[in-house]
Amino acid sequence: MIAITDTSFLIDWVKYTKRDLIFKLFELIYIPESVFNEVRSETTLLWIAEGLENNKMAIFPEISELRNEALRLVLETRRLPIRSVDFPEAYCVVVGKVQNYVVLTENGGALALVNYYDEYKEVKVMRALEVLIELYKRGFIQEIKGEVKDYSRQTNHLFSNRDLRKYGLI
């Protein structure tokens, strides 16, 4: 599988001590230029640099027709009574649809978009929670409830009870 990640996913995932497990699921993780350009923290940059060096990550270029579609999504969602999607996340979602890549995001606007917008419902989106569950299913994590708690503690990321219940974690 190939994934494309946005900033929100990177910010949290990089704090997780078992962050490199993600490469067991994805042979390659793309980072769009717009996402790469907004990363400043040394920890995140170091992890990206290692990923680029080892060919586990690559920068996804900005392609004009995908960029235009992403901008359309930004404008369309700003008319709705809900958090809109920003350009870097919109670009990930568009690339995810066109290239059939998994979109890694924690961004509410992007997560909501692929749920309520019919045209983008087939895009496969994973948050850290789904990545952890997939790692568990494939045997890379031994005990899922404890691991989700560890992830929350290490990253200060709260998962909603609604989602934890959905996956049988509470």
């Binding site: 907004e38 990363v39 958090r83 509410g108 749920n115 929670l129 200060n156």
Partner: protein, 79 residues
Amino acid sequence: MKIDEKALEEWIERFEEARELRRKYADWNFIKSQPERIKIALEYYVETGDYRGAAQMAEMAVDEFVNIAKEKAKIPTVD
């Protein structure tokens, strides 16, 4: 733009729940003690979850802002 109205309603509800959690866990003493620009940005982030807009208000990089919001202001990321 063809919208699934039921899904949209559900997400509006989810965003409200997320807002409540950010309000609950935020260290309001820390937030109130910040220079005005940072305070406004942190409060905006608590209310909306819009880290990119908040980072712009604070004149910071997105990841730097989120790290301060998490580590200093105790505002969790909430799905």
